[in-house]
Symmetry: C2
Subunit: 341 residues, 2 copies
DNA sequence: TTGCGAAACCGAAACGTTTCGGCTATTATC
DNA sequence: GATAATAGCCGAAACGTTTCGGTTTCGCAA
């Protein structure tokens, strides 16, 4: 394969001139510049990124750590993040290196191997429920000690300050409930996987109840264990709720994410319950699948792809200037009223 | 960060000795070897892979091309492949570089940029429906011209010979139908996305019908446009089928993949149709989600993760010895009878 | 014509490895 | 105890870039 030396030789210039011209450091005579560019075309020269990166300290790639046990990419939320990251990556001309391992050997730190071997300039960690129980503070400290730029996404249960991209989420429940209250709903159910409002993986039932009461609603929240939601559990839970007699059954259901809402939608349609006529459905976490459901789901918040973009942008900043103090980027959300309410 | 020079200096040996010892090319005296290893620990030395790969012609990474428009990772099939690829990658100690772009600029070849810049040693292309209509032969030829080791997965509509990993799939329909015939089913429906049996994206209805007839079954296949399946379309189609009066409704439903079968399952459960009592369900493409459904789905074929593993293994072979003629690795499948029939 | 600043161009060094050929010390063989 | 074979160790070159510092050339004003 052609190297820059071949190009230079063919163009009749020195190696450094060729390099400078190709990198725009030197304009050069119209004649020389032309010869160099022509030589590139003739020889089909493509710079060897390995060599380039060896010289310039950046690797031009970022690592994506998605600790997983099940095939985690099948989650709509993660897929949305990924879509955003990829879109931004294409713009920024960075490579994306997957490090979706389990990192469960003792002492192993999320993605540290990639950074230490200079394969990547920084990391995006998308911590899923799989990392529950893990002492993520150790990861954060370990990576900081290495000087590894890091942006954390999704669940974080540590105490260490760390750069994160989150949804400005505390208001989602509020705004969705408000919306349902305006529509006159009094009996409202909740379908959640039992995380998000309180650390530890269990829903704070009292907390839910209080929020609902403040809108004059009564509720009976239903939740699923972590993971169940993906295995048809959400569908079953929705069926359970909807099988109640019509005057006990909620007139609206707030779900933690669009995936749950879609499951509930399918349960309702299967039981010939009209949406939104007999059952309104809303989700508090916007996901791409909500928009394309049989009845598009009212939801809240910025799309996950936006969060992905922000994460990559922030990481690029950190790589540029690693000395910045950790900062949480909260992407503001808003209510997206769709057909399901 | 410490380099191998620092290690050598600290251990009091020459650079090349340190390198040889660390790479096992040289055993060395117990004393020297010990000093070198200790120096590595003391300094926290990690080899700079960029430099290593510059010297040795391998990059130690493979590229994963998943042309996508929608967030494609949310497909259970792709997620399964990925899981297998990752499992194998972890074993083989290769990096995985994502190139999930659209590659839709004219003349752009799947993943060629990655290979030309020596970022990867080879490519796995997972062509989804998104690449329909693309002239994939150009991609195959282009990559071959570059000398890029290549393994193709999933849909392939080209003529060029190419290394592929496929399911030994033609028999899946046969075996599943046979199984249902043994169970005494006469009225069997089919739910498919309309590809696989014939190029061009349309199902060959006559072909289906003939197969069914050979088992003494009558059928009325139902199909969905590409993409619809993911947007709740499968669920709707299943509902449509199941709403027919009980003596017209099929007693069994064969679905193209577990995802469709799960959608049908949910539709059935919602309509209080017992599975498998009143409706048997089977899929002809094994996917991880079928096993964990509310009623585990009878399915056929090797799991997608196995295909992923095979693809990576084959690619590793090709990287080792690129001169091999293209070969199709067909992973044999078998019927997996589960609760749904 | 002279002087001067800017631009063009070049050679060499550097990035951190691996590897090749050669030298020396050690061990094995007779 | 002499010689051959082996293992230990080393210096230098190489991988393909970018970049630094320098020299030459050019164009323009005085």
């Amino acid at each position: 394969m052609a190297t820059i030396v071949d190009v230079a030789k063919r163009a009749g210039v020195s190696l450094s001139t060729a390099s400078d011209i190709l990198n725009g450091k030197l304009k050069g005579t119209a004649a020389t510049a032309g010869r160099v560019r022509q030589a590139v075309l003739d020889l089909g020269y493509r710079p060897n990124l390995l060599a380039r990166r060896l010289r310039t300290p950046k690797s031009g790639a970022i690592g994506l750590v998605v600790p997983f046990r099940r095939p985690i990419f099948s989650s709509a939320v993660i897929a949305d993040y990924l879509a955003g990251i990829q879109a931004e990556q294409e713009r920024a001309d960075l490579n994306l290196v997957l490090a979706s391992r389990r990192y469960e050997k003792p002492g192993e730190i999320y993605g540290a191997d990639l950074f230490e071997s200079r394969s990547v300039d920084g990391l995006i960690v998308i911590a899923t429920r799989e990392s529950y129980g893990r002492d993520v503070d150790t990861d954060v400290r370990g990576l900081r000690a290495l000087g590894c730029p890091l942006v954390w996404m999704h669940f974080f249960e540590g105490r260490e300050p760390v750069d994160r991209v989150t949804r400005a989420g505390a208001d989602a429940w509020h705004e969705v409930l408000e919306h349902l209250a305006e529509r006159g709903h009094k009996r409202v159910g909740a379908l959640t996987v039992g995380i998000g409002l309180k650390a530890g993986g269990r829903p704070n039932v009292a907390h839910y109840a209080k929020r609902f009461e403040s809108f004059g609603m009564c509720t009976k929240p239903e939740w699923l264990g972590a993971g169940e939601a993906f295995d048809g559990g959400a569908f079953g839970a929705a069926m359970e709720i909807l099988r109640r007699p019509a005057d006990e059954r909620p007139t609206a259901l707030v779900c933690e994410g669009d995936e749950l809402a879609v499951a509930a939608l399918q349960a309702a349609l299967g039981m010939s319950i009209k949406v939104p006529g007999e059952l309104a459905l809303a989700s508090v976490t916007n996901t791409s699948i909500g928009a394309t459901a049989a009845v598009p789901i009212t939801t809240h918040g910025a799309p996950g792809s936006m969060l992905g973009r922000m994460a990559l942008k922030r990481l690029a900043e950190l790589i540029e200037d690693p000395a910045q103090p950790p900062r949480e980027v909260a992407v503001p959300g808003q209510l997206l009223v769709r057909a399901s309410t």
